[in-house]
């Protein structure tokens, strides 16, 4: 809102004057007179003409370029907003009708993803034949309704509401973190009075402690209850509530309690004032100093769309970006607050471990020369490459090409296990798609705790369960869910029971119209993985989970690199390659188990953080983090997205694929690409779907093509795949905020 809105309002009351002589360009003329009498006179004059008048108003587009979806074309009704007729589906509110007519109504409590509260009264508009202004967010639009948003009555109503809101709102904008992006600030500039009549003391409210992420200044709260509704409707925790009445009304947790949701950071975005702000970001920067870069989150496999706000070389904060298909407009706390890990434990120089076991900084020339020399002294089958969980597709392609040129085919991505099934793409992606989960009416979660593995997917399931009362069955270790579910069992034996129809839950699956099965990627590491997937396939077949019009068989991946790695065919030749390796190239791999690695093996660690992988490394090649490079990441539903560099690299670090390309030349096996464009055309020959950016590419073949397995499921129960939601990779482990969160919020 703010100036843009003011300008658009000014334009709205103007009229297009088309020069009659030449029919040439259209001139906008800002008329000074926009009194309602005049508008009414115009409309009345237009109505008097016999044929239905072609609206003499300029063509208006919905706010934000939104498109109107008519579920049932017969139910379209017509309303008039400021005299401009709009067709809207039945059941929309007056506020939504105004938005479609291109009129942005000021609001505080209304949020289109939350239920309607109607308690801020800011969205008052005048409706003809209504005795007083109506709250447009709560009023359903009726056919033929004449809505007026720009009349003196509406303006006076807004001004009055504004005055009441500011009555108890402190005038501390200069020290408020919301300053510059505050709805109350903007709207009081646009709609408020130019003077106050208030001389008494303002009320003050005790601040609440909501944990290490959300800072509260409760005196600033205007009781819009967006946060309360968010907590119960989207996050699924009943932590926040409203206490007291009248001027004693306040938001709180009833008893002193931290907000224990993995989505709690989103209340910072939805709070229209500065009552809930980011604790780590407090007093760090003003929003107009920040440069926004539209990027992708890599801390889990969802690939949430984010905007990285940076000032100079420093990432100052991370905020969500709207993507209806993936994260809607929320992000998890890990995504929002891990960024301080980008400043700690960074590798900034190439280093070689000396005879005394200490690292010594060297030049790139020397480091690459040593790696190349060692690589050539080793038999090709003893060379192993491991891609880390944060690797982008380009660098994985380069690493695979380099190792193949050296004669080795032992390359894999951590988290995919040693026998990954890379043949059928439908066997490792989320075939239903994240937004498709909303159509489901029964879920079977196998060995996955979506709340910690992929918080945004969990939010979708929560939304579905809340909207349609879908049944959720869960097989796995005891876990925390924020929606109703049945815990069916802990081990794969339960799956066999469901497959054979002996389990009570199989009837729920059978009766479901759109059943969904989600298998966690933690299953990839199990010995009996093929048997588990065979059991899941049987359940799918028996319950009609995979049909031409519906594919409910999903795998929920854990890491940002996994899907692209499998698409690119990062599959090790032998599952014992680590045990016999003499040369290991870790590309950001910190969680791969190196216990069985022979002591004389030479380990190269290429990455951006001094994490677990560095302890065993002989040579360190510093690489850039995802905020510093352009890279393609494929999320768990098979949608490729690109990160963009927001800040410069640290020290002497280089982009991952450049390091590998340079190493290949020093080693005498030069890779044939010099630019990202060239490496992408190489990817085109392997996995063309990775080049279809921002568009989900569904799998072509279903998993029913999988060969029969004779393996039997073991009785070992499923184990949790993610021990600590807040610390899953090198960046989050280096983050102080994430450490505080794990200490305070992990139960």
């Amino acid at each position: 809102m703010g100036l843009g809105l003011l300008a658009s309002r000014a334009l709205r009351s103007s009229r297009i004057l088309r020069s009659p002589s030449n029919g040439g360009p259209t001139y906008f003329l800002r008329t000074i007179v926009s009194t309602p009498e005049l508008n009414n006179a115009d409309a009345a004059a237009a109505v008097q003409g016999n044929p239905p008048p072609p609206p003499d108003l300029p063509k208006r587009n919905p706010v934000g370029g939104a498109r109107v979806h008519f579920p049932n074309p017969d139910d379209a009704i017509e309303v008039f907003v400021d005299g401009y007729p709009v067709k809207i589906p039945k059941g929309m509110t007056v506020l939504q009708a105004c938005e479609i007519a291109g009129v942005d109504i000021p609001r505080f409590c209304y949020h289109n993803r939350l239920s309607i509260a109607g308690n801020c009264r800011m969205c008052l508009v005048e409706v003809e034949k209504s005795p007083k202004p109506v709250a447009s967010c709560a009023m359903p639009a009726l056919p033929g309704m004449k809505i007026k948003t720009d009349t003196p009555i509406a303006k006076k109503a807004r001004e009055g509401v504004m005055e009441f809101l500011l009555m108890n709102h402190p005038l501390d904008c200069p020290i408020c973190d919301q300053g510059g992006e505050c709805d109350l600030q903007d709207q009081s500039m646009a709609f408020g009075s130019d003077r106050g009549r208030f001389t008494e003391m303002k009320r003050s409210v005790v601040d609440k402690n909501l944990g290490p992420l959300v800072k509260t200044v409760m005196t600033r709260c205007i009781q819009c209850t967006r946060c309360v509704r968010f907590a119960s409707e989207v996050a699924g925790v009943e932590d926040l509530g409203m206490l007291g009445r009248g001027s004693g009304e306040e938001i709180g947790t009833y008893v002193e309690k931290l907000m224990t949701s993995e989505l709690s950071g989103n209340v910072i975005d939805i709070c229209p004032v500065g009552a809930l702000t980011s604790k780590p970001f407090a007093f760090k920067a003003r929003n107009w100093e920040l440069k926004g870069t539209e990027s992708i989150d890599v801390t889990d496999a969802v690939g949430s769309n984010i905007r990285i706000d940076s000032r100079g070389p420093e990432v100052m904060r991370v905020v969500p970006r709207l993507n209806e298909d993936i994260n809607e407009e929320w992000i998890s706390d890990k995504t929002r607050f891990f960024y301080d890990g980008l400043k700690r434990q960074r590798l900034n120089d190439p280093m070689i471990r000396g005879a005394d076991g200490r690292f010594k900084a060297v030049s790139w020339r020397d480091a690459l020369a040593i790696v190349a020399e060692v690589m050539h002294q080793i038999k090709p089958e003893e060379i192993v490459g491991v891609a880390g969980k944060l690797s982008d597709a380009e660098s994985m392609m380069a690493l695979k090409d380099l190792l193949n040129k050296m004669g080795s085919n032992n390359i894999f991505c951590e988290g995919n296990g040693m026998h990954p099934n890379a043949d059928l793409r439908s066997g490792y992606i989320m075939n239903t798609s994240i937004s498709g989960l909303e159509k489901a009416d029964a879920f079977l979660l196998v060995g996955t705790q979506p709340r910690v593995e992929a918080a945004m997917v969990n939010a979708r399931i929560h939304k579905t369960v809340k909207a349609t009362h879908a049944k959720v069955g869960y097989v796995g270790p005891a876990a925390d869910f924020n929606y109703d579910h049945q815990h069916l069992g802990t081990g794969p034996q339960t799956l066999v029971e469901i497959a054979e129809g002996r389990h009570p839950f199989s009837s729920a699956l059978k009766n479901a119209k759109n059943p969904v099965i989600i298998v966690g990627a933690g299953v990839f590491d199990r010995e009996d993985k093929d048997a588990v997937f065979a059991a899941v396939d049987t359940i799918a077949k028996n319950n009609n989970v995979v049909r031409p019009d519906w594919n409910g068989l999903n795998v929920l991946l854990l890491n940002a690199a996994q899907a692209a790695a499998l698409d690119l065919g990062l599959v090790p030749e032998s599952d014992k390659c680590i045990d016999s390796a003499k040369f290991v190239y870790l590309m950001g791999a910190d969680d791969v188990n190196l216990d069985k690695l022979p002591d004389d093996a030479f380990v190269v660690y290429q990455g951006h953080h001094g994490d677990r992988g560095v302890y065993r490394a002989n040579v360190i090649l510093p690489a850039s983090a995802f905020t510093e490079k352009e890279g393609t990441y494929e999320n768990t539903e098979g949608c490729a997205q690109i990160t963009l560099p927001a800040v410069p690299t640290v020290g002497d670090a280089r982009d991952d694929w450049k390091i590998i390309r340079a190493l290949s030349e020093v080693a005498g096996v030069r890779l044939p690409y010099d630019s990202l464009g060239a490496i992408r055309s190489r990817i085109r020959t392997v996995a063309p779907n990775l080049l279809e950016v921002d568009e989900r590419q569904p799998a072509t073949f279903s998993t029913s093509l999988r060969p029969e397995v004779s393996q039997k499921v073991s009785s070992t129960p499923f184990t949790p795949a993610v021990e600590n939601f807040y610390m899953t990779d090198a960046i989050t482990r280096a983050s102080k905020i994430m450490a505080q969160c794990s200490a305070l919020l992990k139960k």
């Binding site: 030049s363 790139w364 020339r365 850039s624 690299t649 280089r654 450049k658 390309r661 340079a662």
Partner: protein
Amino acid sequence: MAHMMRNMRVPPNSASLAEAKHKTLEFFRMCCRSIPEIMEIYNLYDVVSPSQLRSAVAAEVRKNSNLTNPKVIDMLLFKGMEELKNCVDHSKQRHHLVGKYVVGNQGLVQDLGHKDQGSSNFLKNFYSGNYF
């Protein structure tokens, strides 16, 4: 020669481009004549030869070969004369001359090419920085 430069003052402006050109050549000759003295004063025998110094001066002069405005040329000649006087008067120290005329603009770290012989542009760029 030194006595010629001892009493430096602003010479009258050149009337034409031809005159300015002539003055430039005179200045270059003066530089060439003072080079042996400079070699002696700053003990530059082990780092540079007189002919190298001459070509360094010539390169400095040629850098401005595109100028046609006599006033600008006069101004540059004055600055050059000042520099020459500073050198001859021992107003500078050895490293000033080594830095400016012996090592030159490439700086001390010179890529003589023996290491990256035959390597691609990509690798050369890679060694110098991440952004290319």
